[in-house]
């Protein structure tokens, strides 16, 4: 059996890539190959050349934990699956240390504590091999070409879409909607207070503001309303007063000088 890892590098695997800095470590090459705790255990069993049916649990557990320590040192996020397996190994190890209960006469009840784990490993190995079989089948199919699609008009009623496609389509539409709303809110969030402060600042530099031009600065309806409200607020606070020379003409905001000694310079 060839090693599928070698011919097929991981594309979207779990975050297990070994980082640099430990290139001298004998573990480095292997680390980016393991995907899960079962793979790691199988590797250790192979490396130690022990029988899967008679795993020296203390030795393997020690090695397993050593790998986790190494991963930790290398800042690899250790998936919880690995920790669960570590706990399982330690549990089995402890159980094997306990003397067999002399009271138990039933053989079945006193079964090897390693057995469930061995069964899982054996089961998992089968699917690893099956994956390789699928890989070689796909290889053959990828070397085969079919006729290019003919230019035919579509007709009929049957639909080749699953509920997953339907759900995905809905999710994308909702996501787009969310983005749009966020965009609008972001635009709306030129807050009124900011607009008012902005106008006050401008009025420090000049006595009059062309309101029509001010409105034209607005990049959205929302902003236009904000500007309008800001102007109204300033009128209310008697900071400015509005003057329109002719009907439908230019509207000018004139700064109201609070100093009583100063007379208004009406246009």
């Amino acid at each position: 059996m060839t090693d599928p890892h070698r011919i097929m590098p991981e594309e979207d695997g779990e975050p297990m890539e070994a980082s640099t800095g430990l290139s001298s470590s004998p573990y480095k090459v292997k680390l980016d190959v393991f995907e899960g705790p079962l793979d790691l255990l199988l590797h250790l069993i192979k490396k130690e050349q022990v029988s899967i049916y008679d795993i020296p649990i203390a030795r393997i557990t020690e090695q397993y934990l050593e790998y986790l320590r190494l991963m930790h040192e290398m800042d690899i996020t250790i998936a919880s699956d690995f920790l669960v397996m570590a706990a399982t190994l330690i549990y089995i190890k402890t159980k094997m240390l306990l003397p067999r209960s002399p009271l138990t006469e039933d053989e079945e009840e006193d079964e090897d504590p390693r057995r469930p784990l061995v069964e899982r490993l054996l089961e998992y190995q089968k699917y690893k091999a099956a994956a390789e079989m699928l890989w070689s089948k796909a290889q053959v199919e990828q070397a085969v070409f079919t006729r290019p699609p003919l230019d035919l008009q579509e007709a009929g009623t049957e639909i080749a879409a699953t509920t997953y496609d339907l759900f995905e389509a809905f999710r994308r539409a909702m996501e787009r909607l969310k983005e749009k709303i966020q965009l609008e809110i972001a635009r709306e969030e030129v807050p009124l207070e900011e607009k008012i402060a902005d106008l006050r600042q401008r009025l420090e530099r000049t006595d009059r503001l062309d309101i029509t031009a001010l409105f034209e600065e607005a990049r959205s309806k929302r902003e236009l309303i904000t500007i309008f409200l800001a102007v109204l607020e300033l009128v209310k606070e008697s900071v400015i007063r509005l003057v329109q020379r002719v009907a439908f003409g230019q509207i000018i905001a004139i700064k109201v000088n609070r100093s009583p000694s100063t007379t208004e310079r009406a246009p």
């Binding site: 007709a155 009929g156 009623t157 639909i159 999710r171 909607l177």
Partner: protein
């Protein structure tokens, strides 16, 4: 007729190339692809491929069209092919229609303006397509200004998506794992 192993392989490759080519493929082009062979030699081989293929008197033939070779069905089978094309299952719904259908399925009953609000685009033609395919049906009118028609999914929709009832539609929770990542 060429009998050497090499010629047999070349002829098989030529047959495969004629088959996959969307347009009639010329001898020059074949020669080029097969590794800069002499176009005349390739033409002789392609003519042999054509003669042998057509001698079978099967449902297909290779013909010289527009200076190239093309594989097609024999004219006498056009009737049966037309019958096939009429009855074949259609391809998928367009993405726009699928999305519109999804919005209706999850938000029903829903009006056209509401669909357009969610999708952010005109959905008139998609709704029309879905109505024609009987995947959606009108479900009364919404008691608001203009009393717009509300739409919902049909029994046909359930059948085509293999659902027992609407409660079987996958929910966000079902795919949550896939989404967050």
């Amino acid at each position: 007729m060429s009998g050497s192993k090499n010629d047999r392989e070349l002829k098989a490759a030529i047959e495969a190339l004629i088959f996959v080519s969307e347009e009639p493929i010329t001898a020059n082009r074949l020669a080029e692809i097969l590794g800069d062979l002499d176009p005349e030699d390739v033409e002789a081989l392609a003519n042999e491929v054509m003669a042998e293929f057509n001698a079978r008197e099967g449902g297909l033939e290779i013909r010289r069209i527009a200076g190239g070779y093309r594989m097609s069905t024999r004219p006498q089978y056009h009737e049966v092919l037309r019958r096939y094309l009429r009855t074949r299952p259609a391809a998928r719904l367009s993405l726009a229609s699928l999305e519109t259908l999804a919005v209706i399925a999850y938000k029903q009953p829903i009006t056209l303006p509401e669909i357009q609000e969610i999708r952010g685009k005109n959905s008139v033609s998609s709704v029309k397509t879905l109505l024609e395919k009987r995947l959606i049906v009108p479900k009364g009118r919404k008691p608001v200004a203009g009393r717009p028609i509300m739409y919902g999914t049909s029994k046909e929709f359930l059948i085509q998506f293999g659902l027992n009832d609407l409660s079987e539609l996958p929910s966000i929770e079902d795919f949550e794992d896939f989404i967050t990542e």
